[in-house]
Amino acid sequence: MEKVFKITKGLTGVPMHYCPGCTHGIVHRLVAEVLEEMDVIESAIGVSSVGCTYNNYDYFACDMLQAAHGRAPAVATGVKRVHPGSLVFTYQGDGDLAAIGTAEIVHAAARGERITTIFVNNAIYGMTSGQMAPTTLIGQVTTTTPFGRDAAIHGYPIRMSEMLSTLDGAAFIQRVSMHDVRNVREAKKAITKAFRLQSEGAGFTMVEILSTCPTNWGIDPVGSLEWIKEMMIPQYPLGVYKDVTAGGDK
C-alpha cells in the first residue's frame, strides 16, 4: 500500500490552535502542499498577519515573518525586493486585508508586486471575538452589529477580488471556497496557479478563500460549511476574476 494522503512537509507538524472545524486549517494544508509540490519549502518566505492565524509562522515549514495588522503586503514587498528569486506569500484575514490593510493590498496589486496573497474571508473578525468585518454580510449579527449589519449605518460588504481585479498590476485573482471537497481541490489548483504565475514574474496574484468561523458565527462546523454555500457565495461568487494568461478577464 502506498500513502495516497500524507501530512505535507510544508507544515512543521506543530498542532494548530484553531477552533474545532475552523477551515483555516485546511487552507494551511493546501498552501503547504503546494510549497512542497513546487519544491520551494527551503526558499519560500511567508508573511503571517494579525488575526487568528497570527502565529502560523509556527505551522509553515518555510521562513516566516509576522507582520503588523494589515501590513503583510508591505512586509512581503520588502522581502521580495530583497529576494526576487524567492516565492513570497502573505496569509491574511478579511479584517487584516480588507479593513486596516486596504491601502497595502491595493498598492501591492497596483505595483504588480510579485507576491501571492492568500486571503481568507470568513466574514468576521475571528481573533478579537466576532466583530463586523468589511466582508460581513448585510443582516449578519456580530458583536459590533448586534442588530445585524445595516447598510445604512455600517455600509456594504466589500468584494475584494472584484475590486483588485480593476488594477493593471494584478495578474491572477480567483475566489474559491472551503465548503466541500470539490471546492477544496479547486482552491489548491488556484493556489498552485498563483504561485506558479508569481515565479514566472507575472505580477500580483491572490486567492480569496471563503472560510468558516464556527465559533463566532455560532454555527457548528458542518453547518458552517452550509452557511458558506447558502449565504456567502451569493455575495461572493466563486471564479477567476483576473488572469493575465487567459484571453480576457471575467
Binding site: 512543521t12 519549502i41 527551503e42 526558499s43 519560500a44 518566505i45 508573511v47 503571517s48 497570527y54 502565529n55 509562522y57 509556527d58 515549514a61 518555510c62 521562513d63 516566516m64 515573518l65 509576522q66 507582520a67 503588523a68 501590513r71 508591505a74 512586509v75 512581503a76 514587498t77 520588502g78 522581502v79 521580495k80 525586493r81 530583497v82 529576494h83 524567492s86 491601502a103 497595502e104 491595493v106 498598492h107
Partner: protein
C-alpha cells in the same frame, strides 16, 4: 582637500547610505527631506539597488521591516508627521530586533504645523512614541560631514545591536550645504545575519521574525533581554562633543542646529569675559548622562542652559542627569523660529549676572 564636495545634508545622508552598502530604500515624500528620495531615485540605479516609493509612511516602515528582516541594509526617511505614522512599526521593529535606519528631518508642529526646522520630536524618537518598552538609538549631527559619517555608522550600529537607529536632524541640517569628504573605500563591517528570514537556503533552521509571545514569562524574557541590550548600548555607545568645559560657569546643552548657534555664543561670551561651555549630545539615546552629571558636580559650574527648537524636551534628560545639583534653565523656540545668537547671548549675560 580636493575630494571635498559641497552637499546638502539630505544628499549626504543618501550618499552615505549607499556607501554603507544600503541597497534598499523605501519612503514616502515629505518636506523637508525630499532630496533624500530624489537623490536615491537616481543613485540606486547606478548601484543596482532598489528605490521604491511606498504608498504611505506606514507601508514604508513595514517594507523596511520586511526587507531588513530578510537580511538587507535598509533605509527609510521622513519628517515629523510621517514619523508619527511609523510608531507602530518602530515598536514592532524593536520587538523583532530588526536592524533598521530611519531618518527624521524634523519640521515644526504640532499637527500639520509647518515645514520649517524644529526639534519637537525628541520625546517621540528618544522616549518612545510607540507602545511598550523599547529604545531607538538616536544620532544627532550638527553638520553635514558629521551627518555623512553618522549615517554610515548608523548601519553598523543597527546591525551590531539589531536595533532601529534614528538619524534625527532638524530641517536646517537637512537643507544646508557644507563640504563633505566622501571616503573612497569604506571599511564597513559585514554582519552575518543568521537570524534573518531570507529563505532557509537549503538549511534546516526555520527562521521566524516576530514580536509576539503569548506566554508572559517568555515575553518578559524578551523584554529583559532587550533591556540588557539597552544597558550595553548605554555603556558603549555614548557619543558627545564638549567644548570649553574646563572652566565654564555656564554650560549650554544643545544638539543639532542649536549647538551650532551655541558655538558662536561661546566665542562671543568669551570676548565679554563670560565663560560658557557646551555639551552637545551626539547620541540622544544613549544620553551622555555621565559627562553631564560630572560637570554638574564641578564647583566652577553655576548653571546649565538648555537650548532647543521646541518647548522643552531634551531638557528633561539634562535635568535627570544633573539630578538637582545645579539649576537647569531652558530656552526654546518653536514654530520654525530659530533663536539668534544675540538672543542666547542675552540670556547668558543675564545668567552670568544672576538675573535669569
Amino acid at each position: 582637500m580636493s575630494n571635498r564636495v559641497l552637499m546638502k545634508g539630505n544628499e549626504a545622508i543618501a550618499e552615505a547610505a549607499v556607501k554603507a552598502g544600503c541597497r534598499h530604500y523605501f519612503g514616502y515624500p515629505i518636506t523637508p527631506q525630499t532630496e533624500i528620495a530624489h537623490y536615491l531615485a537616481k543613485r540606486m540605479k547606478d548601484v543596482d539597488g532598489v528605490f521604491l516609493q511606498a504608498e504611505s509612511e506606514v507601508a514604508a516602515i513595514n517594507m523596511v521591516y520586511g526587507a531588513a528582516g530578510a537580511g538587507a541594509r535598509v533605509l527609510t526617511s521622513s519628517s515629523s508627521p510621517g514619523i508619527s505614522l511609523k510608531q507602530e512599526g518602530f515598536s514592532y521593529i524593536a520587538g523583532a530586533e530588526i536592524p533598521s535606519v530611519v531618518v527624521n528631518v524634523m519640521r515644526c508642529g504640532p499637527g500639520l504645523g509647518g515645514i520649517l526646522p524644529a526639534q519637537g520630536d525628541y520625546f517621540q524618537c528618544v522616549k518612545g512614541g510607540g507602545h511598550g518598552d523599547y529604545k531607538n538609538l538616536v544620532l544627532a549631527a550638527s553638520g553635514v560631514q558629521e551627518l555623512f559619517s553618522l549615517t554610515m555608522e548608523a548601519f553598523d550600529l543597527a546591525d551590531k545591536y539589531r536595533i532601529l537607529v534614528v538619524i534625527l536632524a532638524d530641517g536646517t541640517i537637512g537643507q544646508m550645504m557644507e563640504p563633505v569628504i566622501i571616503p573612497e573605500d569604506t571599511d564597513m563591517k559585514i554582519f552575518d545575519k543568521p537570524w534573518a528570514a531570507s529563505g532557509k537556503k537549503g538549511g534546516n533552521v526555520h527562521h521566524t521574525i516576530k514580536s509576539i509571545y503569548i506566554d508572559p514569562v517568555v515575553l518578559e524574557g524578551l523584554n529583559n533581554r532587550l533591556q540588557s541590550k539597552y544597558r550595553e548600548i548605554e555603556a558603549n555607545e555614548v557619543r558627545v562633543e564638549t567644548s570649553a568645559l574646563e572652566d565654564a560657569e555656564i554650560v549650554i546643552t544643545a544638539f543639532g542646529t542649536c549647538a551650532r548657534i551655541a558655538k558662536n555664543v561661546i566665542k562671543e561670551a568669551a570676548r565679554e569675559g563670560i565663560k560658557v561651555g557646551l555639551i552637545r549630545p551626539i547620541t540622544l539615546w544613549p544620553f551622555p548622562v555621565e559627562i553631564i552629571s560630572e560637570t554638574a558636580r564641578k564647583d566652577s559650574v553655576k548653571a546649565f542652559l538648555d537650548i532647543e527648537l521646541n518647548a522643552g524636551q531634551m531638557v528633561e534628560d539634562v535635568r535627570l542627569a544633573v539630578n538637582g545639583k545645579k539649576e537647569v534653565l531652558f530656552h526654546g523656540r518653536t514654530g520654525g523660529m530659530i533663536p539668534s545668537q544675540e538672543e542666547i547671548l542675552d540670556i547668558v549675560r543675564r545668567i552670568a549676572g544672576g538675573g535669569f
